[in-house]
Subunit: 450 residues, 2 copies
């Protein structure tokens, strides 16, 4: 895709992304940037190249597969418990390139069972190196989850409820404070709707939640995480899109719990929701006034899971291939899905759940890359969307007499480069307050970060 260069005249010179259409225009900001030299004087009439560096809209994926790469591991790491996906070690560098080409936010696995399979032996350093690896590459991080009944520490069942609560609180503080500055966004609690009545397996967190109640458990998660990192962005996350989640949320908000963001899962193993249902879900949950993250989105490139399956974990198949027809469908649906989500003003992030079919959750062909490492059409379609149609490529123009250039593009991070140096700026505020940005006044520097 191409940016365009505006004509000369009374207005500042302008570069602009292609108009995304009326339903997405709230994602686009038009901001005038004044460029100054090191001496503070406007860089008037200079050639300047404007290029987008990142989207304000969170474009997430799980970073699970790349933990071994970040840690330089040469043998498979296994915790002996559910880890929800993980590719084999071959080809991880290629996978990393594909990952970094499209995504700007990584979800890291803090499942208590795999993170601390034996009490007192948390996997902290390995996760820290993984987080640092992403951060070094400009990727924002999210930790998932601090409280959940599934994949939790198996040794909790040896403890009484009071002791479970104590160690759960300690665990939240340990992770959130220990990773502060690196991981500042957390799923504070996952799937609290079903938590106290979950009956697939006995576990300490269901016992705790049943004894204390959902709201008390949610409050515990947010209280501890907030105390450990007051600046953290904390999510309430659930797969339950029914009125049950609305009711829980209303109770949680009524109780004064400080939810920053509402997390909606959308594992679509049983088929793409379609625009109408997706928008209806978003509208129902947007009415609480919280930003929304689609935390776990999945679309298959093979057979769908039958509609009668209630718990996705119950569907076990030996071989679940990606098919040519499935891949075409997935590519079409992923564009429709991301367009629909971006069209809703409450959505601030979308996380796709898995890059590769290799080691994917449930063995499903949910990846954007085949198990052999080749990109599926959905990968290319998503890349063409977020790095193409929704992206301002390097575009050269000339500043006006006052050193100004107007940039019209998707809210996010931009770099403006002149012969005198470059400046990195964030254009537009939060996604929901896009459109006309506050003017930016910035001095270029010869050593703008790469």
């Amino acid at each position: 895709m191409t940016g365009t260069v505006g004509g000369a005249g009374a207005d500042p010179a302008a570069v602009a992304v292609a108009d995304p259409g009326a339903d997405l225009r709230h994602r686009v900001t038009s901001t005038t940037v004044t460029l100054r030299g090191a001496d503070g004087a406007p860089l008037a009439g200079r050639e300047v190249t404007v290029e987008q560096r990142s989207h304000a809209l969170g474009m997430g994926n799980i970073g699970f597969d790349l933990i071994p790469l970040a840690n330089g591991e040469t043998t498979a790491h296994t915790a002996g418990v559910e880890t929800f996906g993980g590719a084999s070690l071959d080809g991880l560098e290629h996978l990393a390139e594909l990952w970094l080409e499209v995504f700007n936010t990584a979800t890291l696995p803090f499942y208590w069972g795999a993170f601390e399979p034996r009490r007192g032996e948390p996997d902290t350093e390995r996760l820290r190196r993984a987080a640092q690896w992403f951060a070094d590459r400009g990727v924002a991080l999210k930790g998932h989850p601090l409280v959940w009944h599934t994949a939790t520490a198996p040794w909790l069942t040896d403890l009484g409820v009071d002791e479970i609560e104590r160690v759960q609180r300690e665990r939240i503080r340990r992770e959130v404070s220990g990773f502060a500055g690196l991981v500042d966004t957390w799923d504070a609690i996952n799937e609290a709707v079903i938590m106290p009545v979950f009956d697939k397996e006995d576990n300490g967190i269901t016992r705790l939640c049943r004894a204390r109640g959902r709201i008390a458990t949610v409050r515990m998660a947010f209280e501890e995480a907030r105390a450990a990192n007051p600046a953290a962005t904390l999510l309430l996350n659930d797969f339950d899109m029914s009125t049950a989640y609305e009711c829980l949320l209303e109770g949680v908000l009524e109780a004064g719990v400080g939810v920053d963001v509402l997390g909606l899962q959308s594992h679509m193993h049983q088929g793409y929701w379609g625009e109408e249902r997706t928008l209806a879900v978003l509208d129902r949950f947007a009415r609480y006034g919280l930003p929304i993250h689609l935390t776990e989105s999945t679309l298959l490139s093979g057979d769908l899971m039958p509609a009668h399956v209630e718990d996705l974990n119950d569907w076990q198949v030996e071989h679940w291939p990606s098919t040519p027809a499935g891949e075409e469908r997935q590519a079409e649906e992923i564009v429709r899905h991301y367009r629909t989500l971006a069209s809703h003003p409450s959505v601030e992030a979308v996380t796709y759940w898995g890059l590769t079919d290799d080691g994917a959750w449930l063995g499903a062909p949910a990846g954007l890359v085949r198990a052999d490492g080749t990109p599926k059409p959905a990968y290319e379609a998503l890349r063409d969307l977020v790095k193409g149609a929704w992206w301002l490529p390097p575009t050269t123009t000339r500043t006006d007499d006052e050193g100004r250039v107007t940039v019209r593009g998707w809210t996010g991070d931009y770099r403006l480069t002149t012969a005198a140096g470059a400046a990195d700026v964030r254009l537009g505020g939060p996604a929901r307050s896009g459109r006309t940005g506050e003017p930016v006044d910035v001095s270029v520097s010869g050593s703008a970060a790469g």
Copy 2:
């Protein structure tokens, strides 16, 4: 069924209902009653007849059909809106006899749309006469419902949300204070889980609940009803038995709303739940420590509604007959259902939804009496249960030397009659605190109420 007379000896003379079995023993109290004459002296060695008059366990049914009888109406009353059942005028006296033979609690219809079809013209006097008719016959009353989105006043949609809230608050105060002393139990709010997202028809209450939120709407209902009648028993009532209702309830309790009783509907048009599911539902909701009323129980004596129907109101059939096989099934299931409910210590009342098929909701064969007025097997089975196996019929014994007799029977109201007069006593406290009752000391009176 027969009561038994204990032998003479050191212990007081005793009469006892048949042992109902271990799972129902918490329903039975054993209480020693000392009978005294008008002069206060014990009536020693006197012949006394003990008879049960009513169950502490609420045995409810709707009283809708009998409103015309109580009002002496000779032409059909129609509000032009949904009234959820109503038999034709012929044969109401016979229906009343059948009603009074089995039930001790009547639910009266306060659907706002039928109660006040034109603003400012409430149907107060007609409902008051109906309530008085039941009260005169020893029947407790419940009003249903004070707040509901279905069958609500159609003129609310002409008002803004603030005005809807104002008139809804006024309507609650008007009914609850106006009927205090006659109707002291109310479904304060009905179906709040779906209320703000109900999309079958535009209505003022959904608008209000969507604007204010569920918890604020529930609080409004309870606040106003409590202010109007501090002694009232106020229910939160819903058909939604999923985790959504749990979540709502947890939020409501967390918000400090004074819920006295949790109402669970159980319209089983799609088939009897069975013991296991019923007990699982009761256990899930009993963990909040509130008494439970089964507010709307239905079992069909004909074809079942298909399982795929989500909103029972969507199932419209021309002719829905009661069948011999269906009637046998209904009779068997109603005994299993009431036994199961009585076995759970949290259940304090069970209301069956409709006595007759004539004018039954949805045209379903849900009644215990056929449209022609003849009792179905289920009527007889329920009567034999609550007035037979669970009932102490008139049983004669002799008081001991201190004027005492021990009565072992279902918690409820009893009359003890001697030649010197009779005494009415309530034996046992709330259903959940049955077993051994506090001793009762009472003087007989020649004019005990009939």
